[in-house]
């Protein structure tokens, strides 16, 4: 048959599997360390810094650290708003989301919303958090927040430097762009397969899949932000004899912050949409509830868990969309 001549199959999938085996063999230790790191960050946010320290310290002690860091930053930036906001956020993260009663956490969320935007947002936050507790999904919602926080942090740590490198080198930018396209448009569930292979089931593969899917905007918008800085202002740095790294630190990055914040906002939003999918690999949290509702055809649970995700998404979107624009 004529068809047989042009009938062929590219074993792309097999190749990928071979590559996966190879990566697993060669990078066994680094991957293990990465998994340990992510699990530790997750534990800090859910159960507090005190729970992961090898020595016994009071549960409230991380709050002092948070307060000191907040004060330091607020003093350095001459902004009480920034200082107080940082202290509150760090207090929650280092103190552990699960330790205080729900209403205290909800009030702190509301306070952060107030600092970041307005009293109206604070009120809305309070109502939303009460709703989450009211439907009995508080613990799951806090786990979801912790998942998103860790995934966002790692996405930024990887994405922002990539974006800076891309802003400086056209070649690197041209090479990076298809990789980011790939990461962002691959159907997200596909990430779960290698994630399970490398990290087995649980929170870690969920976070890895989330990071892969949500990282792109932080790199893209960092590049865009730096390239968008007024050329003449950068020229000032050059004309006065500043070094490249100094121009980056003192001129380009500060002026790119609003754009970078848009990127971080998008990372968070993509991350939230991904943690639900991550529920399929045992990441638990709200995603786990959604998966449970889906398999049990339980509309009531599905709607409740879904609404909680929406509340978290709106809260995180509003506070991050505004903190970048806030002036001193």
């Amino acid at each position: 048959m004529a068809d047989e001549a042009i009938d062929f199959r590219i074993p792309l999938g097999d190749w990928t599997e071979t590559a996966e085996d190879w990566i697993q063999d060669v990078f066994d230790t680094p991957l293990g360390l990465l998994a340990d790191l992510m699990r530790m960050l997750f534990d800090i946010i859910t159960d507090g810094l005190a729970s992961v320290l090898p020595v016994e310290v009071p549960e409230w002690s991380p709050l002092i650290l948070a307060l000191l860091l907040g004060l330091g930053l607020g003093f350095a930036a001459k902004s009480w708003r920034l200082g107080l906001g940082t202290a509150l956020v760090l207090g929650l993260i280092l103190g552990g989301l699960h330790l205080p009663p729900w209403y205290i956490v909800a009030v702190v969320f509301a306070a952060i919303a107030w600092l970041a935007k307005s009293w109206k947002l604070a009120l809305g936050t309070l109502v939303g958090m009460t709703l989450i507790f009211g439907v009995g999904l508080w613990e799951e919602a806090m786990d979801t927040l912790a998942l998103v926080a860790v995934a966002t942090l790692i996405s930024i740590v990887i994405g922002v430097p990539l974006g800076i490198a891309a802003a400086y080198s056209r070649t690197f930018s041209a090479g990076l762009r298809p990789v980011l396209d790939f990461l962002q448009t691959m159907p997200p569930m596909v990430y779960l397969i290698p994630a399970i292979a490398f990290f087995s089931v649980g929170v870690v593969p969920g976070m890895v899949a989330t990071i892969l899917f949500s990282m792109a905007p932080s790199a893209r918008l960092t590049e865009l932000g730096i390239r968008g800085v007024n050329h003449e202002v950068v020229e000032v740095g050059e004309a006065f004899g500043a070094s490249t790294s100094r121009i980056l630190r003192q001129i380009q990055l500060p002026l790119a912050v609003p754009t970078i914040m848009v990127g971080i906002n998008q990372v968070i939003m993509l991350g939230l949409s991904m943690v639900v999918i991550a529920g399929m690999v045992g990441a638990g949290a709200l995603g786990g509830e959604v998966v449970r509702a889906l398999s049990g055809n339980d509309l009531a649970l599905g709607v409740e868990a879904g609404i909680c995700v929406v509340v978290l998404a709106m809260f995180l979107d509003r506070i991050t969309a505004h903190s970048g624009r806030a002036k001193t």
């Binding site: 007024n230 003449e232 020229e235 000032v236 740095g237 006065f240 004899g241 001129i251 002026l255």
Partner: protein
């Protein structure tokens, strides 16, 4: 090895040259700057005699064979219409746009041969710059903007804030130190830009159309302030402008650029009275001559007046440097002529010549009455190669 040794020798010579008091602060020798895929090739063609128009398919020849020296303490103005290459030329002076060919020496040191570290050091120590659109840092206060150059030089915080504060009050911005630039008007923003360059305390200041974005009244005021500061601080200034009146008012010497080439270099009076070609002549047609010409440039020798006229004229004496603007009201009130005196060697006034009312009227009319009083399109006028003037 030998080459290395020769290079060392050259550096040594260059350094000892810079110790000379008379050495130029900025020396530009046969500088070319071309943009395009193969800039070197464009320069080669230009040297073989090709014109800028012939090479447009290969790229842009922005600066063609520019040569001049700027003396310490001088205000050297480069003037030309947009697209004449003046902004590119000033950027070759601090290496923001390295020249494709030719040599630029700053305080005797060849910046075209300097490596990156060297170049940064030269910029920090010798070259400050004021930008057309101010280019202030929006995230820094006025004081921190003004202190930027000192910060890059590694001056400690208290010291640089003190020095920047001093300069801010010099440019009339005391009380604004803690504001952010967006709270300031355009004129005030450029004062910050000027303060930033002055505070860096470099020998040379490059000013790229520094006052062009300001409205006329503020511009006039800033020009006056610049001259005032220049008198006090004695900087070497390279000033770029498209405004001939500004060039004439500020410049000790002026280089007129056209299509990437320098058409004429001279003092304002030189350019007004002896334009090198039609292009320069048409350019100066609408300049305010009373602001530029001085008593010295319009006076006639004593022999042109009778003995009796001279005696009468000596009842009113004026300084040689007085502009016609100031001179006219004095001359009108005089008896038909005034005596011009200058400073002699020991500071004693010396009789130099006389200005009659007729001389004044004559000087205010443009030379060659045939020239059209507007600036023509650059393409329509033909210009001789700038080589002999440069």
């Amino acid at each position: 090895m030998l080459k290395r040794w020769l290079l060392h020798q050259r550096e040594y010579e260059v350094l000892s040259e810079s110790d000379h008091a008379a050495a130029p602060a900025v020396s530009v020798q046969n500088v070319y700057k071309a943009f395009g895929r193969r800039p070197k090739q464009i320069v080669k063609r230009l040297k073989e005699g090709a014109t800028r128009q012939e090479l447009t398919s290969q790229g842009t020849a922005a600066v063609i064979d520019a040569s001049f020296d700027v003396n310490p303490g001088e205000i050297f103005v480069v003037m030309g219409l947009s697209g004449s290459g003046k902004s590119t030329l000033i950027r070759t002076l601090n290496g923001l746009q390295p020249p494709t060919d030719g040599v630029v020496k700053i305080m005797g040191q060849d910046i075209t041969a300097a490596n990156k570290t060297e170049l940064r050091r030269l910029r920090r120590e010798h070259l400050a710059m004021v930008f057309q659109h101010f280019a202030l840092f929006p995230h820094r206060t006025v004081l921190d903007n003004a202190a930027y150059g000192l910060e890059i030089q590694g001056v400690d915080r208290a010291e640089r804030r003190r020095r920047a504060g001093d300069i801010l009050s010099k440019v009339g911005l005391e009380g604004w130190a803690d504001h952010y630039p967006d709270a300031l008007s355009g004129g005030m923003q450029q004062r910050v830009g000027l303060a930033r360059a002055l505070a860096a305390d470099t020998d040379i200041m490059l000013m790229d159309e520094a006052f062009s974005a300001l409205d006329p009244l503020i511009r006039r005021e800033m020009q006056g302030q610049l001259l005032h500061l220049q008198e006090e601080l004695g900087k070497t200034i390279v000033f770029i402008t498209h405004d001939l009146n500004e060039a004439m008012y500020l410049g000790d010497r002026i280089a007129v650029m056209k299509d990437g080439e320098i058409a004429q270099i001279g003092t304002p009076a030189d350019i007004l009275s002896k334009p090198a070609d039609d292009y320069v002549a048409s350019f100066i047609a609408d300049v305010d001559r009373t602001r530029v010409l001085t008593a010295e440039s319009v006076m006639v020798p004593p022999a042109a007046l009778s003995e009796e006229e001279q005696v009468r004229a000596r009842t009113t004496t004026v300084k040689a440097g007085m502009t016609l603007q100031e001179l006219v009201p004095v001359a009108i009130r005089s008896d038909g002529a005034v005596a011009v005196e200058g400073d002699g060697r020991d500071g004693e006034p010396v009789q130099m010549g006389y200005v009659k009312l007729a001389n004044l009227l004559e000087a205010m009319a443009p030379p060659e009455t045939g020239t059209h009083p507007t600036v023509p399109e650059p393409e329509t006028s033909t210009v001789k190669p700038a080589g002999e003037d440069a």
